[in-house]
């Protein structure tokens, strides 16, 4: 299974990932359209003492948000491993139990629909929009095993699993 990884040192907070994410999840599929439609990104470029720090769902193996969901909307797809509250018959009601449960702060509120908003790993794309748009190669989309191997090298140790 693939994961979205971050090389924290390479992120300069350009926000390309957030814009690409919003665009991908908009009707128009454009950055301007996303702004007009009020679509919020699902990757949160926050900062730590002024240094940018993107936060995005890790699609956990034993996901706390799935356990917490009292509507049954938050589900982990057994095939793709993707955790999402969208596209299921059991609909999200915006109770925010998942926000309380997520230790990464990777779930936010969608003000338009009053439901939980999180990364769905771009189901229509081969490579998630955030990764594809990153001009600094700070975001990768890699197989977890490759990641584990890479982490044994000094270079790999800088990588952080964020997706």
């Amino acid at each position: 299974m693939k994961e979205i990884l971050l090389d924290y040192d390479k992120c300069n907070g350009c926000m390309a990932c957030a814009q690409a994410c919003a665009a991908e999840h908009s009707e128009s599929k454009t950055i301007v359209g996303a702004i007009l439609e009020g679509v919020r990104p699902r990757i949160f470029v926050q900062s730590v003492d002024g240094k940018p720090f993107p936060i995005i769902c890790r699609h956990c193996e034993d996901a706390p948000c799935v356990d917490a969901c009292m509507a049954g909307a938050m589900q982990k797809d057994p095939e793709t491993g993707v955790v999402t509250n969208e596209g299921h018959a059991e609909a999200c009601v915006g109770c925010w139990m998942c926000i309380m449960a997520c230790p990464y702060g990777a779930v936010d509120r969608d003000y338009r629909s009053n439901t939980a908003l999180k990364c769905d790993r771009c189901p229509e794309r081969e490579i998630p929009a955030c990764v594809a748009s990153c001009p600094n190669n700070a975001l990768f989309y890699t197989d977890v095993n490759v990641y584990a191997d890479a982490r044994r090298t000094a270079e790999g140790r800088r990588l952080l699993a964020i997706g």
């Binding site: 936060i55 109770c95 925010w96 139990m97 926000i99 309380m100 584990a148 952080l160």
Partner: protein
């Protein structure tokens, strides 16, 4: 192997699903008094308000039992367990054998000893039948009084308000949500509720409930009267009592199982009787913050306990991590709020309290610490990253290095990097090698 699960809700369904994942062959039976597909009682307010239909209350797909090859006995009430014979006796007289039994019987509403409640009739909200009864009563008039301003009472009050009823809430404690929120947080939430027209009478006992008098009793406009301590009389076609629940433990009385307020379990979710496990609102387990045994009656905990019980029933020993008994997320009208752990504590409890309060923006944040370890939290208005703080409570991590940042709106998971996150990664790496 025959697994029998009593209760088809958060704990029972998660246990059945997990068991099937661990054991393709075993016979798994889910038995429940309620003759319904797995539905979430947390969604009952959405049903009352009209936002969700009956069919939309399910938390698993309609074919869940069939797909997972799980047998069901719905509409059957278990009345007795014979641990020696490994049998559960049903109200119908039928006996159902088991090799491993999970008691996930949840909790029931309690009826407080209010003068006159026998005459007005007790109505609570715990299951679909209750909800249907309430909806039926709503037809006779549009005034409702909800006694109990806790989480369930307020959710219900708000749902009835959305339905178009004229709703008042009566709460004995000085403010609403007294178990989860302090006075400052409760005031913001109460103001939000009042915006929608709900009246709140807090710090008020209910002196008496009076049924309709004389002719009124016959007419469709029959009104009950709720008399408050100060003499105020509130009229109501519908009086709801949401003052608490009690765990359904009766089934194990007489089996030798240790029972306190709830069924006592160890960290493997085993009761003190061999081959009998318990999970969810019916059981007591160790609270993470207090370290004491107690009820942990919320949906996520029931799910985690059900899952853990399943692993142990299937012979794969797994300890349940200590759970946060108190964790709640709410949004009535438009103010979201989250509380966890010792959220209502103050400096008088010998704890360190950090707060920010911006009344005009409807924002309040509070963090309760003991020797640099977070014991409780309240986030009102802006709840982004609340989970990061809740995770620090669950980890009982020393936060002295980031204490001054915790209340910043910009505080996020990144602040745990490189310190805590890196350590976590190194542990992951050590495991991987």
């Amino acid at each position: 192997m025959r697994y029998l699960i009593i209760g088809s809700s958060a704990a029972g369904i998660k246990a059945a699903e997990t068991l099937r994942g661990l054991d393709r062959e075993a016979s798994i039976t889910v038995l429940s008094e309620e003759n319904e597909p797995p539905y979430s009682r947390c969604l009952l307010p959405e049903y009352l308000s009209g936002k969700k239909s009956r069919e939309e209350l399910t938390f698993r797909a309609g074919n869940f039992f069939k797909d997972n090859n799980i047998e069901t006995m719905l509409g059957e009430r278990a009345v007795y367990v014979d641990p020696a014979g490994q049998e559960v006796i049903l109200e119908s007289g039928e006996a159902v054998g088991y090799d491993k039994l999970l008691v996930a019987t949840g909790a029931s509403s309690t009826c407080p000893p209010l003068p006159g409640i026998d005459k007005v009739g007790f109505t609570g909200i715990r299951n679909l039948d209750d909800a249907d009864l309430i909806l039926n009563r709503c037809r006779s008039g549009n005034k409702a009084v909800v006694i109990g301003g806790g989480f369930v009472g307020l959710e219900t009050a708000y749902a009835l308000n959305r339905r178009g009823l004229d709703v008042a809430v009566v709460e004995l404690a000085p403010h609403i949500l007294a178990l989860q929120f302090d006075a400052t947080a409760a005031e913001i939430l109460a103001n939000d509720m009042k915006q929608s027209g709900i009246k709140i009478y807090a710090g008020t006992a209910t002196r008496e409930l009076r049924p309709p008098e004389g002719l009124g009793r016959l007419g469709s406009e029959a009104e009950n009267t709720v008399v408050l301590d100060d003499g105020t009389e509130l009229k109501a076609h519908l009086v709801l009592t949401c003052t608490g629940t009690k765990p359904n433990v009766e089934l194990l009385v007489g089996t030798g199982a240790e029972i306190n307020r709830g069924i006592v379990v160890n960290e493997y979710m085993e009761t003190t009787v061999p081959n009998i496990y318990a999970a969810g609102d019916a059981c007591e387990s160790t609270d993470l913050v207090s370290g004491e045994k107690g009820l942990t009656p919320i949906w996520p905990n029931a799910v985690i306990q059900g899952k853990t019980a399943a692993y142990n029933m299937a012979g794969r020993p797994r300890k349940v991590s200590p759970l946060l008994g108190l964790q709640n997320a709410v949004e009535f009208r438009e103010v979201p709020a989250i509380a966890a752990g010792l959220s209502t504590s103050g400096p008088q409890d010998g704890l360190e309290i950090l707060t920010v309060h911006q009344p005009t923006r409807g924002i309040y944040r509070k963090i309760v610490l003991e020797e640099n370890v977070i014991k409780g939290m309240i986030f009102v208005g802006n709840i982004q990253n609340a989970g990061v703080i809740a995770a620090l409570i669950r980890k009982q991590a020393d936060v002295s290095k980031i204490k001054d940042k915790l209340l910043d709106y910009s505080f996020n998971y990144g602040y745990l990097w490189p310190g805590m996150v890196k350590k976590e990664l190194e542990e992951m790496e050590a495991e991987a090698v």
